[in-house]
């Protein structure tokens, strides 16, 4: 079997129609949904989680959820919004789990030796990323989700749809989340914050 050439799929069925067919038990409709949206879900998770393996695992889980429990009929679904919501929901679980493990390891390493700072920039970057994920993991799920998604460039309208909140409350949610994040970030990297005048 070879990959389907793009032009063969010339008639783009709407997500709603594909979901309908999938509910009727037509497996090819699910494949179509998967192929259409996989890259978006995967890349979102790749940015959130940082490694291809974790991102793929979580992306597969997102589609497994859809597969096991198709979105019910009779309601207008925004499939991309649903997928991104579930993806960031599961991604959040992963970074929380990682943060928990990290804390255990940190304790263990501190006992072993006094931490020697690694001057290499690659290592520093990895450390910053890990720090950011740890802070996200400490925030309530909705706050972590909205910060991450806003940074992915989603508009307020899209955020409202993904998060299932009113458009008018996106600003408030975001402001609250940034406040919580910035406070923790300052604790985490006191010198960096001082330099920035916080």
């Amino acid at each position: 079997m070879s990959e389907k050439p793009e032009e063969v799929r010339s008639v783009a069925l709407t997500d709603a129609l594909l979901l309908e067919r999938w509910r009727e038990g037509r497996n090819e409709a699910f494949e179509e949904i998967f192929v259409r949206h996989y890259a978006t879900v995967y890349r979102t998770l790749l940015r959130l989680l940082g490694t291809a393996g974790d991102a793929e695992d979580a992306a597969q889980e997102v589609f497994l959820r859809l597969y096991r429990r198709p979105l019910p009929p009779g309601r207008e679904h925004n499939l991309p919004a649903w997928l991104i919501r579930v993806a960031t929901h599961l991604g959040y679980n992963v970074i929380r789990e990682q943060a928990r493990r990290q804390r255990r390891q940190d304790t263990w390493e501190k006992e072993r030796s006094a931490g020697v700072p690694n001057p290499e920039s690659e290592a520093l970057r990895a450390e910053t990323q890990a720090g950011v994920r740890q802070i996200l993991a400490q925030l309530p799920r909705k706050q972590a989700q909205i910060l991450f998604l806003r940074h992915q460039g989603y508009s307020y309208e899209e955020l409202a749809r993904i998060m299932g909140v009113k458009l008018s409350s996106v600003g408030t949610l975001l402001a609250r989340a940034e406040r919580a994040f910035a406070a923790r970030y300052a604790e985490h990297t006191p010198r960096a914050s001082e330099a920035r005048g916080m």
């Binding site: 990959e3 389907k4 494949e31 998967f34 192929v35 259409r36 996989y38 890259a39 995967y42 890349r43 790749l46 940015r47 959130l48 940082g50 490694t51 291809a52 393996g53 991102a55 793929e56 992306a59 597969q60 589609f63 497994l64 597969y67 096991r68 970057r125 910053t128 990323q129 950011v132 994920r133 802070i135 910060l147 991450f148 940074h151 508009s155 307020y156 008018s168 409350s169 996106v170 600003g171 408030t172 949610l173 975001l174 402001a175 609250r176 989340a177 940034e178 406040r179 994040f181 910035a182 970030y185 300052a186 914050s193 920035r196 916080m198």
Partner: protein
């Protein structure tokens, strides 16, 4: 009027209608407090943005083929199906028409591990003299072995050939009160005097008729079951061939209380009775069952020796799917079993008191089940 922080934050992102933005600007030029507030929001937003910018896409792994991913997805669906079939087997054991059997601990659940699947019309030799439930022991079993289709087939044939029904069960009867049930059961039916909120009373009461059957053990079948489980190295207990095992399952009363969270069911019955020829060594047989269920040899030997096989009900606990704990209830020793993965809201409690076996099951915590059980006495 001051702008709230949500609106100011939206203003920062230019996420508001032009008219509102213009009004906000007007207000800001006149209000130092709001300007300061806006500045704070901006600083936090910039800090956050620069921190989150570190979560850029790594170079490795950025490329992916959705088709290849879909192929892997299909493998994963296959895997999860077998996982789920184990789960549904567990559900089957604890629900529907087997619930009463499970809760009332009818013979088929009672019996040795190697016959508990496919559920429950099967039985085999396991107990010396007359078996009666006095105690419970949870035995963790590795359920994946039992999913093997060859095993299921062999078991099906083995038992359809060897089970003789001695007394067919009659239809189940609906009764209107505990007194009515008592007359049918031959012991005093008990209902809880206390239930958590949300359960409809009075309950629907049913008396399921009992049955009796005899199993003749054909050791060739036992061997094929053992081999289908991949345990050809486990020795067959002595004197098993041709052994006749009589099983008598008494009437069971079930009380069914509906709720929004799902029903709570209470079952009660006299203990089932099982007779095994005296020359069959129960400890040996128990050890055999434990090994077939996936227990390592030394552990099986140790556990088999510790169990009083003539009085202990073996409750198979599928590893990874269920969790259990021994508890004390109304002065007796009991066992609570719950789904390991569940949200924790679904438990089963089994115990014996004064010759009667009780089973309670529903969307309740172990503590709630124990409290209900104690309110029956």
């Amino acid at each position: 009027m001051h702008r709230n922080k949500g609106r100011l934050r939206a203003y920062l992102d230019k996420e508001m209608p032009a008219e509102e933005a213009r009004k906000t600007e007007d207000h800001l030029s006149a209000c130092a407090a709001c300007r300061e507030h806006l500045e704070t929001l901006r600083r936090r937003s910039e800090t956050t943005a620069s921190a989150l910018a570190s979560l850029a896409e790594p170079k490795q792994g950025a490329q992916t083929s959705p088709y290849a991913a879909f192929a892997r997805f299909q493998d994963r669906v296959q895997d999860s199906k077998s996982e789920r079939s184990a789960q549904s087997m567990w559900n089957q054991l604890t629900s529907g028409r087997w619930r009463a059997a499970w809760a009332g601990l009818t013979a088929l659940v009672v019996l040795s591990l190697f016959v508990f699947y496919p559920p429950l019309r099967t039985a085999a030799a396991d107990f010396l003299g007359i078996f009666r439930v006095r105690k419970f022991a949870a035995v963790p079993i590795n359920i994946s072995a039992l999913e093997n289709p060859t095993f299921a087939n062999v078991l099906e044939t083995a038992f359809s050939d060897q089970v003789k029904v001695l007394r067919e069960p009659g239809p189940s009867l609906t009764v209107n009160s505990a007194q009515e049930a008592t007359a049918l059961l031959g012991f005093e039916a008990r209902l809880p005097s206390r239930l958590p909120d949300g359960f409809a009373t009075p309950p629907a009461l049913n008396v399921e008729d009992g049955m009796a059957f005899q199993v003749t053990v054909n050791v060739e079948y036992v061997k094929s079951i053992r081999d289908a489980l991949g345990k050809a190295d486990v020795p067959i207990p002595a004197n098993l061939n041709g052994a006749r095992v009589d099983v008598d399952v008494p009437k069971i009363l079930t009380a069914f209380y509906a709720s929004n969270q799902g029903p709570f069911t209470l079952a009660q019955a006299k203990s089932p009775e099982i007779q095994v020829p005296p020359n069959v060594d129960l400890t040996q047989l128990g050890e055999f069952g434990l090994r077939l269920a996936g227990m390592p040899a030394d552990q099986a030997a140790q556990m088999a020796a510790a169990i009083d096989w003539a009085n202990t009900l073996i409750v198979p606990i599928p590893m990874g799917y269920a969790t259990y704990e021994e508890v004390s209830v109304a002065g007796s020793q009991g066992l609570v079993v719950g789904e390991a993965s569940g949200t924790g809201g679904h438990w089963l409690l089994a115990f014996e008191k004064d010759g009667i076996v009780y089973g309670l099951e529903g969307p309740l915590s172990a503590e709630e089940l124990i409290a209900i059980a104690e309110s029956m006495f």
